[in-house]
């Protein structure tokens, strides 16, 4: 698998979420994603960036443009050093929320992408990796 581009952006304020969305859209266009695929990865990025900010107290996102054979993809890795998620299975259920949201961000994002991977350690932080292939 070849990495075409690899960059890291901070997530410290709600303005940064807007920026993450814009960058994800730009990169999805660069990878010639269809409009539906673009919208899906951008929406997932928006959800996870907001999680990083609100639940993880800020962090960063690593964006990678990938190529494997003839297929192209986009991988986003969100990292925070926040409180972590005590019960991952519960957090991935539809409708479960610790904040005021709808409780669909994490589970919904999972359905919007092809690859989804989450690691969390209480007191140390959370890492969420998503990838979408065209």
């Amino acid at each position: 698998m070849a990495t075409l581009r690899d960059e890291i952006y901070p997530i410290r304020s709600s303005d940064d979420i807007v920026k993450v969305r814009q960058i994800t859209r730009e990169w999805a266009l660069m990878q010639t994603f269809s409009l539906v695929d673009q919208t899906k990865i951008v929406t997932a990025a928006s959800e996870l960036a907001r999680n990083t900010l609100e639940h993880g107290h800020g962090g960063e996102v690593r964006i990678q443009a990938l190529q494997e054979g003839s297929r192209r993809g986009l991988r986003l890795t969100f990292v925070d050093q926040g409180p972590g998620i005590p019960d991952l299975a519960k957090a991935l259920q539809d409708g479960f929320t610790t904040g005021n949201g709808m409780g669909l961000g994490l589970s919904g994002s999972k359905r919007l992408v092809n690859d989804f991977d989450i690691h969390s350690e209480t007191g140390k932080g959370t890492t969420v990796m998503i990838a979408r292939w065209k």
């Binding site: 709600s14 969305r21 919208t39 899906k40 951008v42 929406t43 907001r50 919904g108």
Partner: protein, 287 residues
């Protein structure tokens, strides 16, 4: 104390020389904006600043002292005007930093003892650095004020509620729906519902690029609030990619009437309010 008075004395005695050299410097600097500022204006500003500077420096070089207030106020004035004219921070700060060379020149000529010279140059350079940084801070502050004002203007501009027909309102949303804006949107819509007694409001999200769970939640809350006030909402502008994304996210919009285009939503609204649209006979025969 002795060092200070030396700088003060030199500045006082050599006032005209410094002013000429300084203006010369600014006119030759690459950061000069002849397009934005006239030479006479620059000369006038420099003369006035040097006058205030000379006066203040007589009592010391601590710009925190009240004696420096006129100098700082004057710097505030010119910084503000330069920000409005579109100067960059470097271009603004050059006004202060370009004073270094002329001051150094006259000090070097006047002070013979090397130790005194170093001390005097040091006092001068720290003083000008402080003033330069002060200008930078002011520049930044002014820019932030401009940005803040524009944000507020944008907030107002981006949420117009328009009346399409008797009893029908439309709210075309454009851009990012962050919390602050959604609050304004909600207030505007509810206010207009009261004013017009509208039965139906159409919320058009054609201009919203990303609909995630937060945006969906805001929309649902707005719809619920409008319903409490007796107005039904229709959400229009749901494009195919948005529809698919909403389904995958698992957001339930089934309780709200949704339409692909504003035109479709308007037709529904007309039907519900009992109005009908027909083509006139003349158009029919022609068509």
């Amino acid at each position: 104390m002795e060092k200070r008075t030396k700088l003060a004395e030199i500045v006082k005695n050599q006032h005209d020389v410094i002013l000429n050299d300084w203006v010369e410097f600014q006119l030759n600097a690459t950061t000069l904006r002849r397009d934005l500022m006239k030479e006479s204006e620059l000369r006038e500003q420099s003369r006035e600043f040097l006058g205030l500077f000379t006066q203040a420096v007589q009592s010391g070089s601590d710009i925190g002292e009240t004696i420096w207030k006129p100098v700082k106020d004057f710097l505030g004035q010119i910084t503000r005007s330069r920000v409005l004219l579109g100067f960059t921070p470097s271009e603004t700060a050059t006004f202060i930093f370009s004073l270094k060379q002329p001051l150094f020149d006259v000090i070097r000529a006047a002070v013979k003892d090397p130790k005194d010279l170093v001390a005097d140059l040091w006092t001068t350079t720290t003083l000008l650095d402080k003033l330069g940084l002060y200008v930078m801070e002011l520049h930044q502050q002014n820019r932030e004020e401009v940005i803040h004002r524009q944000q507020e203007e944008l907030l107002e501009l981006s949420t117009p509620v328009v009346q399409l027909f008797e009893n029908i309102l439309a709210l075309p949303l454009i851009g990012t729906l962050d919390s602050a804006r959604t609050q304004v949107v909600m207030e505007n819509l509810l206010q207009r519902i009261v004013e017009t007694g509208a039965m139906i409001s159409i919320i058009d999200i054609t201009g919203v690029p990303t609909v995630d769970t937060l945006v969906a939640q805001h929309l649902l809350k707005t719809v619920a609030a409008a319903r409490l006030m007796g107005a039904d909402c229709i959400i229009s502008g749901i494009r195919p990619q948005i529809a698919q994304t909403i389904v995958h996210l698992g957001v339930d919009l089934s309780e709200v009437t949704t339409k692909a285009t504003l035109a479709d939503a308007f037709m529904i609204a007309l039907q519900r309010t009992g109005a009908t649209v027909t083509k006139s006979a003349a158009t029919k025969t022609k068509g």
